[in-house]
């Protein structure tokens, strides 16, 4: 029981970074990006290349990949989403779906379908109050918390962050066009890229690295972001934890192979009872 609760906590915290990325991208760009799963997969494979193939330690690999991914996201935005910006969120969503297919299969093109792992020693667990925990889980918790705090600092203390928040908080205010908005969008993509890259590496530490690894998190991550209120970073954090814990705890009563149904039910309940989500504000489009 307690162990399951802890497992849920770990599952949840693994999803916090992608959920943050989703909510940030949605807040500023106003569309649901379905390519985030594949972006995480690509990041995990990039880290795998540096770590397992070139023999770098995982930490510098992750840092390099995070920066590269951030820049890559900016590039992807310029190539893919920028020309479509005026076309409404549905077109952007469809484009992101296509982008997801492309990215996932680029990983498949180079690495095939077989499962891989980072070149790190996996260790037996230690026990705290009879709960089994392991090193990777500790790393995940620390990294996610640090990232959350960094995000908080970024959004509240820096001019770019404040601008991002202003855009995210005020959905009736269409994104101001001009140089300023270009800068905000680039920063948003960069930060989302970094979050997704780190999230991808953490997921790769948790399970095997294979092409569908990122997309398998897609629904749960979106549920987390919606539950927390799309556009609200704190909400995304809490939403991810809640979804993780609820879906692991639910396996005590429902068959585990329907776990994916839990996030879906959460979305449905949120839509019916509190469309703005846990921490979000009521918002009206247009």
């Amino acid at each position: 029981m307690l162990q399951t609760l802890f497992n849920g906590f770990v599952t949840g915290i693994t999803m916090t970074l992608p959920a943050l990325a989703v909510t940030l991208l949605f807040g500023v760009l106003k569309f649901a990006n379905f390519a985030i799963g594949a972006m995480m997969t690509v990041a995990a494979y990039m880290a795998f290349a540096l770590n397992a193939q070139l023999g770098w330690p995982l930490l510098p690999s992750t840092i390099v990949v995070a920066i590269v991914c951030g820049l890559l996201c900016i590039a992807v935005d310029v190539v893919t989403f920028k020309p479509l910006r005026d076309r409404g969120s549905i077109t952007l969503m469809v484009a992101s779906l296509g982008l997801g297919f492309v990215l996932e299969n680029i990983a498949r093109l180079f690495y095939g379908n077989s499962a891989r792992s980072f070149a790190i020693e996996i260790a037996r667990p230690f026990r705290v109050m009879d709960i089994r925990m392991n090193k990777e889980q500790m790393i995940t918790i620390v990294v996610s918390t640090v990232a959350m705090l960094a995000m908080y600092f970024l959004l509240t203390r820096t001019p770019v962050g404040r601008a991002m928040r202003a855009v995210a908080d005020n959905p009736s205010l269409a994104l101001v066009r001009g140089i300023e908005s270009g800068r905000i969008i680039r920063w948003t993509w960069f930060i989302a890229g970094v979050l997704l890259a780190v999230g991808g590496v953490l997921i790769g530490m948790d399970r095997a690295i294979e092409p569908p690894m990122g997309s398998s998190y897609l629904i749960a991550v979106f549920a987390a972001a919606i539950f927390g209120g799309l556009g609200s970073p704190l909400g995304a954090f809490l939403g991810a934890l809640a979804i993780g814990i609820v879906s692991e705890m639910a396996t005590l009563v429902i068959p585990p192979n329907y776990r994916i149904g839990i996030p879906l039910c959460v979305i449905a309940l949120v839509l019916i009872f509190r469309p703005q989500g846990l921490m979000g504000q009521a918002h009206i489009r247009r």
């Binding site: 399951t4 599952t11 077989s114 499962a115 667990p125 392991n134 948790d206 095997a208 398998s216 994916i260």
Partner: protein, 409 residues
Amino acid sequence: MKKFTRRDVLRTLGAAAATPLSAPFLNLAHAQGANIPIGVALPMTGNAGAYGPDMGEAARRTADLINKAGGILGGRKLELFIEDSESSASVAANLTQKFINVHKAQSLVGYWGTPEGMSSRPIAIQNKVVLMVSSAANAITEGDTQGYIWRFQMRATDWGIVISRAAERLGFKSVGVMGLQNAFVLPIMKVFEERMQAAGRKVVDSLVYNPEQPSYRAEVQRVFGKKPEAVFCFGLLPDFVSIMREVYRGGFDSKVVSLSIAADAEGKFIQGVGAQAAEGIRHFQPMPDVAAPGYKRFLKLMGAPADRIFLFPPNTHDQIAITALAMEKAKSPMAADWSKQIMAVGNGPGEQVDDIVEALKMVRAGKNVNFQGAGSTCDFTASGDQLGRGMGQWVIQGGKQVFVEYAKP
């Protein structure tokens, strides 16, 4: 590029309309001295992608061997059409249509996975073409196959029998079972659980999981958390890698037993989880009897070292060999004729031969043969299931696969 005129289009349509009438004649035309086409659908992509290339090589070398020795039916050569089934049901069905309709194949071989076999089965029966599969799920040969469907593999329930017998001998008092939601895993699980319970062993938990899940923490926690002596985990490589990482880092001590397609996968498993996490895992897989002369001959054909264990390529070899023998015996390339001779050349009565060239000579001379294949003794039940194939058992020690034993059901 040539432009299509309306007349061209009309002519094509006219040809299309005329085809059903002329189809039988076309087949007759084929019967006169042309090559004998064989469709080979192999998994080059997807979760079984590792096995396709070797199976293709075995098929090619076997066909070459037969062709060099003068072919069959008075000098006609076997012509292989090797295609990727992508481990997918609909791709395999489209391929089967292509083999039958474009290449006019009367023999379809390969078909590694259950989806491929299941989707191609009705097409083969309808077109009266022999389909030889390598898949294990019982359903493939169930029902009325009209003698067109032949399995070159142990039936899944037989896997369960061998594995449960081994489990009894290993003395596990309590076991947990987890299986991937997959057509050939479920019958294995069912038989295994029944046998364990019948033997008075406790099955503490049994669950089925989906492929491509974000994580398998909940499943591992539920089954291993009940601390059975051993957990039998029937799955494929990607899910098994994730599960074993979870098991090792979760600090569970139950012994793990699995299938070689997950726990070996041509070395990819140990690469994936590392040697410590893989230590002590036992795994099973139907395999050829490596001591049999037929298998040794096959190794020579493949130019492989004497200790090399091929799991599936020998089946492909046998499928082509049996096709050739049955055609020769029936003196006809049409499946409706030679499908009736498969048991005659496979089960005997007749002299046991393991050399396909020799066997063909004998058949031509009007003698009875009992062909002994590379993958098995090539004995069949009337429903199309293969007898005489056994299972190997390995254990992973120090990052190496150590062979334990070979057993038949």
